[in-house]
Symmetry: C2
Subunit: 218 residues, 2 copies
DNA sequence: CTGAATCCGTACTGGCTGGTCTACTTTGGT
DNA sequence: ACCAAAGTAGACCAGCCAGTACGGATTCAG
């Protein structure tokens, strides 16, 4: 992992070819998430994907190119899992629901493997500048979802307009990543629950007293 | 990294031997922090430490044993850097001073390499159970320092007695780790500053109104 | 139908990796 | 002074790794 050249210049891909390529990336993503990028060999990817060496090198120039594809897939996957909760986020209640879903997810697997993006970030950020840029973009994108949701809370008058959505969003994603890491080390979802809880409390602290009755307690 | 056997049964070590051993661990720690554990070869350690293959394998059974020694050294080193601030911690003011020192440290190197413990945690937690246990202990120890400080704030009547020091401590360490990871990806100390700021605000929120004049503003 | 591009399988290689072996030098206790 | 233990050196090896060579099978445009 030094230069990570751009991906193959998007040659013609038949439907069959696209499928094979996808199987490769999927297998690589799984292996790299479980064993790390350096801990995953091209031969393992070949076997896990049920393809062959020549196919692998047909679709990817080298390991760096494969890693790039894996980063893209993983960031997309993680966001896909969060999008349902964040897309329409516009209330503290929604933020808490997201937190609960996250905690449940982490708790179920006792923090195993950590966040797919987070572990890639930790391993690659200082090894490959292109990878770092991609991963940083993923984090920023993630934060932008949260920031947009927080902005909607302000628009709805639930939150103080002086709050800084972008800063709060960064704080929440940081809590998520740190909470995940501690949960991974402790094999317990508890640190994630605490970390996200504290992060969200910073948003709650900026809540405005609601004018009317409307939605109920807690 | 699968079994990580116990370290060599502490044979007799001459002063010269201990020095050599230390040089090896020091070099290994540096390399592994910069390039990852999997990305560091035994030959690199030999060269960087100015020793030889036989010395390496004289002092360590295998790479796992060396990694174990590196974990011990890194956790000790990191704690040494924080101890001056945390040892006597007994006020919000002190907590903020610690945060400032951390942010300065991260900012200076633009988050490069990340937290030594954090990156080891991310790479090893799911690869080696003994390593995971060691790293988890380091986190817990770190948290216990913060918790003790927070408890002292309660004893001094600066903080609400209903606050849970252990939970707050976990939240702060999580914010530190997550903040570091984002800072590493963004090459900026800003995420760390925000993350720690938000974490500490949870402590500040539990501050009690001080009875007398005594210490000044902010 | 045809031929060129895409797709695929497998054997192979040169270099690197963790780890071993044998032999030489230094140290420290008595 | 002696010698066993500790320390040191560097050659060596078997296996693994990323990447290549080359030949054959499918697919698709025209």
């Amino acid at each position: 992992m030094t230069s990570a050249g751009a991906e193959s210049p998007a040659r013609r891909l038949t439907a069959r070819g696209a499928l094979t390529r996808d199987r490769i990336v999927r297998a690589a993503a799984e292996l790299m998430h479980a064993n790390g990028v350096a801990g995953t060999t091209m031969d393992q990817v070949v076997e896990a994907s049920g393809t062959s060496k020549s196919q692998l090198y047909h679709y990817f120039d080298d390991k760096d190119a494969l890693v790039t594809a894996v980063i893209r897939m993983q960031t997309a996957r993680v966001m896909e899992r969060h999008e349902p909760h964040l897309e329409q986020l516009s209330s503290l209640q929604g933020l808490r629901r997201w937190r609960d879903a996250v905690v449940r997810f982490v708790d179920e697997r006792h923090g195993a493997h950590g966040c797919a993006i987070g572990s890639l970030a930790s391993e690659l950020a200082d090894q490959s500048e292109p990878a770092r840029i991609l991963i940083n973009a993923a984090f920023q994108n993630w934060e932008s979802y949260l920031a947009a949701g927080i902005r909607r809370m302000q628009d709805r008058g639930e939150l103080d307009a002086r709050a800084d959505p972008a800063e709060l969003a960064t704080g929440i994603v940081a809590a998520y990543q740190g909470g995940y890491l501690l949960s991974q080390a402790r094999r317990s979802g508890r640190p994630m629950a605490l970390a996200l809880g504290f992060a969200i409390r910073n948003v709650e602290a900026l809540a405005l007293p609601q004018k009317r009755a409307s939605d109920a307690a807690s």
